[in-house]
């Protein structure tokens, strides 16, 4: 049998995960050796392990699972079938294409399933809150776009919110995008990202540590985050609350000595508190992603400056409203109050700007600058 098959077998065993593999690979060099190992050898590992005072992580139950070849073979056959059908590949720690830095993480990664391809070159993780603001969406897109223009791959967890919009921006600019999932590679989670999931297979890759058909369980996600940070050259946080999952990824990255970028927000904005605190604690500031490109490659991307006022022949009222609007949604009443334009007239001015795509209505009667 091919060594790959042994790896698919190993990762498909019940309850098997990186921490347990870490124990096993202290004693074995490859997956086939574990397959061949007899009960005594395995039990002696448990013994050794417990003598060293590290109780619980690897125990008799795991030995039983490894030795239950009937069951694990069934899982193996199923997984191989799925992988063939969905064109999913596996890479493991001794393969030539395995991203070597993942081996040296705090909790090492031993094998990865992927659809599409594995990332190469420079990679940046664009991450942030799932329930983000329109400000966050806008800048996630811009950062993703600029990174792609600078030939840098975008990596994220393909979650809702910032992750999705960062990826959309990068895809729009034609860059490569990689999604690291907390479930099997053959599962699109969240389901509404189906279109992007398919695009990623062709324009980048879908990566996961978990065997096909694994469910998106809560404990998978912090583990998934360490792969995101492990694969990236630096991390860019767009929006994060004070206690955000994104900050776990940041902690991993800092542990690995990687640079962290954060998008500044208003001080009193709950969704920017995480980012602002990162900046206070020494993170780099990102405005539109060009800083990251410069820091990683030394290349400068030119910003396309447009004078829309002149170009579009706007009148005074329209200019006034453009001056008032920001990326924070403002209600018509608020805009009317600030601009002193009558409530009976303001909808007409707003519609004019909307038709020119200069502003957008993000919720009923709330407008932002486009």
């Amino acid at each position: 049998m091919d060594e790959k098959i042994y790896w698919i077998w190993l990762s498909g065993i019940d309850d098997m995960w990186s921490k347990k593999m870490e124990v096993l690979f202290d004693y074995f060099t490859c997956a086939s050796e574990i397959y061949e190992a007899n009960e005594n050898t395995l039990l002696s590992i448990v013994d050794d392990y417990e003598k060293a005072g590290k109780k619980g992580m690897f125990n008799e139950k795991d030995v039983k699972n490894i030795l239950d070849k009937n069951k694990s073979r069934r899982t193996l056959e199923k997984n191989i079938r799925i992988m063939e059908k969905e064109n999913i590949k596996i890479t493991y720690k001794d393969s030539s294409d395995f991203p070597s830095r993942l081996k040296y993480l705090n909790i090492p990664v031993f094998a990865l399933y992927y659809s599409g391809e594995l990332p190469s070159g420079k990679n940046v993780a664009v991450i942030g809150a799932r329930g983000c603001t329109d400000y966050g969406k806008k800048y996630a897109k811009i950062v993703g776009e600029n990174l792609s223009k600078g030939n840098i791959n975008v990596i994220s967890g393909m979650a809702r919110g910032i992750d999705t919009h960062g990826m959309l921006g990068a895809l729009k600019a034609g860059g490569k995008v990689y999604g690291v999932l907390g479930c099997g590679v053959n599962i699109c989670y969240p389901a509404e990202n189906m279109e992007m999931y398919e695009a990623l297979k062709k324009r980048g890759g879908i990566i996961s540590e978990f065997p096909p058909d694994s469910k998106p369980l809560a404990w998978h996600f912090p583990l998934r985050n360490r792969i995101i940070s492990g694969l990236s050259d630096c991390i860019c946080v767009i929006e994060a609350r004070k206690k955000s999952g994104s900050l776990i990824t940041v902690a991993y990255a800092l542990g690995e000595g990687k640079e962290v970028f954060a998008l500044p927000g208003r001080v009193d904005d709950a969704l920017s508190v995480g980012c602002n605190e990162l900046i206070r604690d020494g993170a780099n500031i990102v405005f539109d992603g060009r800083e990251i490109v410069f820091s990683l490659t030394g290349n400068e991307i030119k910003k396309v400056e447009k004078d829309i006022f002149k170009e579009m022949n706007l009148d005074d009222e329209q200019k006034k409203i453009l001056g008032i609007l920001t990326s924070r949604p403002q209600s018509i009443e608020e805009i009317s109050r600030k601009s002193n334009i009558e409530i009976t007239h303001i909808r007409s001015v707003l519609l004019g700007l909307d038709m020119l795509d200069l502003i957008a209505e993000v919720a009923k009667d709330y407008y932002v600058l486009n």
């Binding site: 799932r130 904005d269 709950a270 909808r347 007409s348 993000v362």
Partner: protein
């Protein structure tokens, strides 16, 4: 001796005169009642017997037969008691038969002989007048509603004893009530639900004025506690005053449903706000003997559906036909019943499940959750709505300005807005004098082309928007209808660009449709 008295039973919104014959003959003592009676009518036997005894009249031993006709309609309610008792008294020769000619008797009897309140007396009084009755005897608690019916004299007694004495001597009639005077008095007085008490909210007030002027159904989106329900309540106060005919009709509906307090007349436009757990029957009406539902109780006024997306789609679907026809028809094996249901729909909802979107400092809903919440509203439901606005929390400065008791911050009162609305209604009346509609919102597409009078550049703007947003044809016409009302308010002959732009802003809901 056989005596004949008259009472009435409700049939749909109207009432049917019921003839009551009483015969006291010889035989074993018995009290028989015939004529397709429901059990509460059947129980009249015990009430009448006891009430008469306690008023001092003992039934002679013999066979009492009471027949209610026409025998083929089902008789419901407790309003026959009085007529049966009077019939017995006539049979006993205690009341002269000629005195009860052309008199309709309505009332339930207490065991002590007291004459008690009955539902639907107004409807019965109207039926009595139609059938040529000269006067009507009603319970004390139903006097006022009966007195607003012109052309019939109203008599009332506290109990049977009083009735006997009066029929022996002189009968006193109640004074007729001039309902239009009452309506004026009631509506000129400022109530709690007056727009003078709604501070700020200029955007919402403008949209509401447009909605009420053209009878466009409106949806209010806003965070919890921002004043959606208050404003919905206030909306009834800026609708034109009730005409005496309308007041009569609305009071009749409330009377037959038992929603009238003692001696109450409905003088203001109704505001009904059924909960989203209401059943179809309670919304549109029904039952074995059909009774009006919420849509009929809000006839002439406002039906407010709070938490609109929470209403089961099936229930809202049943509103569609009545909203088009202005009435609801309920079919039963023994006939069709029609109730008026011409109301203005006001719906409200939160912008997202938690209610605070797009204020992300409070709202933690994901885009997914928000879209799912809004998608409950999609398509067929939103079709019922012409205008949709966001209601924002009033600014604290506005509230403070009012607590100062300084006149500078005074808001326009409902009465002032109502005068403008009445003016716009008049414009519409003149516009549609040759059609069978009265409001801009009722125009069909042909009438829109004929009466809307949209200027060329306004049409161009709407066309551009139509193309850009891939709008539906229905929305296209809805926008023009609302724009017509806006132009009417601003006293413009032609629907110009400005009106169309405002109507588009009032109609569109990005993320929901279009």
């Amino acid at each position: 001796m056989v005596s004949k008295t008259h009472s009435a039973t409700l049939m749909g919104i109207g009432a049917q005169i019921v003839n009551i014959e009483v015969d006291i003959g010889e035989g074993l003592p018995a009290f028989e009642m015939v004529g397709l009676l429901s059990s509460e009518v059947r129980e009249a036997r015990e009430r009448v017997k006891t009430a008469l005894r306690n008023s001092g009249f003992f039934l002679p031993p013999g066979r009492v037969t009471v027949s209610l006709s026409p025998a083929d309609i089902r008789k419901e309610g407790s309003g026959f008691d009085l007529a049966i008792a009077v019939g017995i008294l006539v049979s006993l020769g205690l009341i002269e038969e000629k005195k009860i000619d052309n008199v309709l008797f309505i009332g339930e009897l207490g065991l002590d002989g007291e004459i008690r309140k009955v539902n639907g007396v107004l409807n019965m009084a109207i039926a009595a007048r139609k059938n040529g009755f000269k006067s009507i005897v009603v319970p004390k608690a139903n006097v006022k509603e009966s007195c607003i019916v012109e052309g019939i004299r109203v008599i009332t007694f506290a109990d049977i004893a009083e009735l006997i004495v009066a029929f022996d001597n002189e009968i006193e009639y109640e004074d007729e009530i001039d309902i239009s005077k009452l309506i004026d008095e009631e509506n000129d007085e400022m109530s709690d639900y007056d727009f003078a008490n709604v501070y700020g909210q200029k955007l919402a007030k403008r949209a509401i004025e447009i909605a009420v002027s053209g009878m466009h159904n409106i949806m209010l989106i806003g965070a919890p506690g921002c004043g959606k329900s208050l404003m919905a309540r206030c909306m009834a106060s800026i609708m034109p005053k009730l005409s005496p005919m309308e007041a009569l009709e609305i009071t009749g509906i409330h009377s037959m449903s038992g929603f009238l307090n003692d001696n109450e007349i409905i003088l203001k436009r109704p505001f009904r706000s059924p909960h989203y757990t209401s059943t179809v029957t309670s919304l549109v009406g029904g039952g074995k003997n059909p009774r009006p539902g919420e849509i009929s109780l809000s006839h002439g006024g406002i039906l407010y559906l709070d938490e609109f997306p929470e209403f089961p789609r099936k229930n809202l679907e049943t509103l569609r036909q009545p909203m088009e026809d202005g009435k609801i028809t309920i079919s039963r094996a023994y006939g069709n019943f029609s109730f008026p249901a011409d109301f203005m729909l006001v719906a409200s909802m939160n912008p997202c499940p938690c209610g605070f979107y797009p204020d992300r400092s409070k709202c933690k809903c994901s885009d997914f959750q928000i879209n799912r919440y809004l998608s409950k509203l999609s398509g067929p439901m939103y079709d019922r709505i012409d205008i949709c606005i966001n209601v924002e929390n009033s600014k604290i400065e506005e509230l403070e300005k009012h607590s100062d008791r300084d006149n500078s911050g005074k808001e326009e009162s409902s009465k002032m807005i109502r005068e403008r609305v009445e003016r716009v209604r008049k414009i519409q009346q003149i516009r549609f004098r040759k059609e069978n509609i009265i409001f801009n919102s009722q125009m069909n597409s042909i009438q829109v082309d004929k009466y809307a009078n949209v200027s060329a550049d306004a049409k161009k703007l709407l066309g551009m928007y139509f193309e850009k947003k891939k709008m539906s044809v229905r929305s296209y016409y809805k926008i023009i209808k609302v724009a017509r009302t806006i132009s009417d308010i601003d006293l413009k002959e032609e629907v110009d660009k400005e009106s169309i732009a405002e109507a588009i802003g009032l109609r569109k809901v990005e993320n929901i449709i279009e």
